[in-house]
């Protein structure tokens, strides 16, 4: 455990160094913007994967917490009476409370019911944002910019400082999620995913565990929303629209659910794709939809999972015949085989 922690910390520091060095090596403002998008959406997808990949809860309404974080943070900053760290904490706490209330209803439901109840709650949040015009600005979003007063000598008004701040927060969140991923709690969640009946026979309070990870995932998603709000200096109803949740699911799918950093890779790939698709066509949905169909029906699993399976296949084929039986473990089963619907 301790060794794992040291390794994770080292990798985290290396990742942070990479994030900080990249814009310095290629001093192009659009690269920094691109990376901040990857950071915000990557964090959203990572937090969603705590539910999808780790616990087997396919939430289709995760963007609700992304939007809630962004709006609470933006509103508090616009009120002008709190500092950035305080507003962040308040936004995280507020979203955690919301996730607790919604989660308490949702986690009792299974599989498909869970998916669409979360979707329904997200649309509820979205409709509140749209109708409560006095507070949220309705479909125009929070306009007038979000002030970024300096705190503790850090001035987030500087684009460079803002980027460093976001990168540090991002890596801290990843380390936290990595801890959860490797903790006994994380392994309990895997057991719930693979066999909830057995988990509850072993004395695990399944509902409470699911609620715990639901709140954690919601809070992490709100951190992603805060980063997004800080960067675009506003909050918009699209943050909480169902397409944002759909994109987050697609990022996980692109990156794979079983590799810890998979969703970040997925976020990177999707941002890259979005970047090029929007250059060539307005019909962004059409291209994205066809691509999703091609991947889902062609590969039948996430891209990273596919690559991982392919590599292990190759390794098995290359292994000497005699050693094959004992030395190799069973071929990795795709997540598809695990859960049957209907």
């Amino acid at each position: 455990m301790r060794q794992g922690l040291i390794r994770d910390l080292t990798l985290g520091l290396l990742g942070l160094a990479l994030l900080l060095v990249l814009p310095a090596v290629f001093p192009h403002p659009s690269l920094r913007d691109f990376l901040i998008y990857v950071i915000a959406y990557g964090l959203l997808a990572m937090s969603l994967n705590l539910l999808v990949g780790l616990t087997g809860l396919v939430s289709f309404g995760h963007a609700a917490y992304f939007a809630t974080g962004a709006y609470i943070f933006g509103l508090l900053m616009q009120s002008g009476s709190v500092s950035i760290p305080l507003a962040m904490l308040a936004a995280l706490a507020g979203t955690a409370l919301l996730a607790l209330v919604i989660g308490a209803i949702c986690v009792r439901l299974k599989e498909i019911y869970f998916s669409f109840i979360t979707l329904a709650f997200q649309m509820f949040i979205h409709s509140i944002i749209l109708t409560w015009v006095d507070l949220t600005g309705g479909d125009q979003g929070l306009r007038g910019g979000i002030p970024r007063p300096p705190f503790l000598g850090i001035d987030l008004g500087q684009p460079g400082t803002l980027y460093i701040f976001c990168a540090v927060v991002f890596v801290l969140c990843l380390l936290l999620m990595r801890q959860v991923w490797q903790s006994p709690f994380g392994y309990t969640l895997r057991m719930i995913r693979d066999n909830p009946t057995r988990a509850s026979f072993l004395g695990v309070n399944v509902v409470r565990m699911k609620l715990g990870v639901f709140v954690l995932a919601g809070t992490m998603a709100s951190m992603a929303g805060i980063i997004m709000a800080l960067f675009v200096s506003g909050a918009f109803p699209e943050f909480g629209f169902w397409t944002t949740s759909g994109e987050a699911i697609f990022m996980i799918m692109l990156g794979g659910t079983q590799v810890f950093l998979g969703p970040v890779i997925g976020a990177f790939l999707l941002q890259l794709l979005n970047h090029y698709v929007t250059i060539y066509t307005h019909h962004h949905g059409l291209v994205l939809g066809i691509l999703i169909l091609a991947i889902v029906l062609g590969l039948r699993r996430g891209v990273a999972d596919y690559v991982a399976d392919w590599i292990s296949e190759r390794r098995r084929a290359a292994a000497p015949l005699g050693r094959e039986e004992g030395a190799e473990t069973a071929p990795p089963t795709p997540p598809a085989a695990r859960k049957m619907v209907g």
Binding site: V52, V58, F60, I105, R108, L109, K110, E111, I112, Y113, S115, F116, I117, L119, A120, F121, M123, F124, S127, I128, T131, W132, W242, T243, G246, I249, F250, I252, M253, T257, H283, H284, G285, L286, L288, G289, I290, I292, L293, V296, L297, R300, R301, P334, P335, A336, R338, K339, M340, V341, G342
Partner: protein
């Protein structure tokens, strides 16, 4: 919040009649969409997240047919059958490939279908709002009942939806084909072993569910604005209806749809900003008291 206005409306016959009729219309449209969703889930065990697409397609097909031919009957037929055919195509080529797979895959196929269809509708019909207008045969004076006015078209919609609902219930519970479909829901291998083409049946049931959504879209076309993406709010509301009524139960869907329709109609007077909130509160209440819905079978 205007509780006085709400109380005033509920006690005057004229206002109450108008609101009840509005509520019933909303409820009937939801019932058609939700019963299709429920049917597909009950038999195939998958939730068609793309169900709203077929509602939208039904509305657009009806709109185009009505513009070309001027016959509302043909428009209804085109809307319903067009959506049904599109449903069969979607089932055969895409959905059937992810049966029994991870929920994530089914969700993504539906997500892709929504993205593609919304964009296709935008390309073919344009992104602007479309109005079909009331067909001439229904442009008659509204019926007066206890001081309230009910448009003739509302009565037609009500009769149509109830008729279709009754036919569906009778078809599933009283005919030979219905018996096979019910058996298919319980034990598809056995049905297949008895020499019945289950693939064809799956496609047929999926198509029927989509046909119901398309019919709802076509019926809604004269009284709603048509936009790409119009299916989404209907999808969410019909999800709520199926959750309240119980997945797979058609009578449950009817009760829940009327409940939601009336909640919307009266909520719009009492709490105009919190109509959606009311629906969710209702759903939350049902989920806490009866997790499987009002008439749903126990979720295992």
């Amino acid at each position: 919040m205007n509780l006085d206005v709400l109380a005033g409306c509920m006690t005057t016959a004229a206002c109450a009649v108008t609101q009840v009729s509005t509520g019933l219309i909303v409820g009937m449209l939801l019932f058609l969409v939700a019963s299709g969703l429920s049917l597909i889930f009950g038999v195939l065990g998958v939730v068609n997240f793309a169900h709203g697409v077929f509602y939208m397609l039904g509305a657009y097909f009806a709109f185009v047919t009505y513009e070309q031919t001027g016959s509302f009957l043909l428009a209804l037929l085109a809307g319903a059958s067009g959506a049904g055919l599109a449903g069969i195509v979607f089932e055969r080529f895409f959905m059937s490939r992810v049966y029994g797979q991870d929920l994530l895959m089914q969700l993504l196929v539906c997500y892709a279908a929504i993205l593609i269809c919304d964009d296709l509708v935008k390309i073919i019909f344009g992104a602007d709002y479309k109005l079909m207008g009331m067909p001439e045969s229904f442009a008659t004076a509204p019926v007066e009942l206890a001081g309230g006015f009910i448009p003739g078209y509302y009565i037609f919609m009500l009769a149509m939806a109830l008729g279709v609902g009754a036919a569906l219930w009778l078809g599933i519970n009283r005919t030979r084909l219905g018996k096979i479909i019910r058996a298919l829901a319980i034990n598809p291998q056995m049905v297949g072993a008895l020499g019945i083409n289950t693939r064809l049946l799956y496609a047929g049931v999926f198509g029927l569910g989509c046909l119901l959504a398309g019919l709802a879209g076509a019926l809604a076309a004269p009284v709603r604005t048509l936009t790409p993406g119009m299916g989404l709010s209907v999808l969410i509301e019909s999800f709520i209806v199926t959750v309240i009524g119980g997945m797979g139960s058609i009578p449950g869907a009817l009760i829940a749809a009327i409940l939601i329709g009336l909640t919307r109609a009266f909520g719009a007077i009492g709490f105009p900003l919190f109509v959606d909130g009311l629906m969710f509160a209702l759903m939350g209440l049902v989920l806490i008291l009866r997790p499987s819905g009002l008439l749903g079978a126990k979720v295992s």
